[in-house]
Symmetry: C2
Subunit: 138 residues, 2 copies
């Protein structure tokens, strides 16, 4: 078997990206790669470092809440080559807006939660019960 430079097995890519081998096969079925992943003589996937780089970006997009469907749309745009950069930009800008909105939402919730934490700390420190939930609300 010809193992050309930089050829990576699915296990190595799993290791490098944190995605399970199951997830990598799933991503491939879902059309999330930028190219068809080539196979060795025996039928095993042979990835290259660019695939790993792409997967690391995918991880960022997924972790920040992009759906598989949207990620597939982005992959399709990149796969179909130059000429659609406006669409790619629009997709990324839209996602950026979503992430910023999500952060703002989390910060608003955090303020409420932290307020509760402070209230409980005060209660435990000096024995007042103001602001705590009673077992049977009035």
């Amino acid at each position: 078997m010809i193992r050309h430079a930089d050829g990576l097995s699915i296990g190595q890519v799993s290791e490098a990206t944190g995605l399970s081998v199951h997830a990598l096969r799933f991503f491939e079925r879902e059309g999330l790669f930028l190219r068809p992943i080539p196979r060795s003589a025996g039928g095993q996937r042979v990835y290259d470092p660019a695939d790993v780089e792409w997967l690391l970006l995918c991880n960022r997009l997924r972790d920040s809440g992009m759906s598989i469907a949207t990620l597939r749309r982005f992959a399709e745009l990149v796969r179909s080559g130059p000429g659609n950069e406006h669409e790619r930009l629009a997709l990324l800008e839209e996602h950026e807006r979503m992430v910023r909105a999500r952060i703002a939402e989390l910060e608003a919730s955090l303020a409420v939660i932290h307020g509760k934490v402070v209230t409980y700390r005060r209660h435990l420190h000096d024995g007042t019960a103001a602001g705590l939930w009673a077992p049977a609300p009035s």
Copy 2:
């Protein structure tokens, strides 16, 4: 039927909290309320404003990523009355840590995504292709 002051129907609570009536019944089955919700003579749920306030806090906790299971645990602690404030505080502090970690993760992803957006904008503005994903990665 005696409609006592402040009695709210499930529809009104749905309106006030943004939770669907289905979700409100689901929450009840899941033990997320601080008390058994009383029923009218005809068997319909009668909520009061304290239930709505609790649900608004639940929304904050859920929106910030707390699972139903953890929320139930918190509800159980509050229901079981005074004496477990240390546990309630620990639960809230743990959740606060998780929210802060999530915000940090989102901000890290945001930096990457924004970097891509800037790259695409530059590309579209002056025609360079550096840093863009090619259709077939080298």
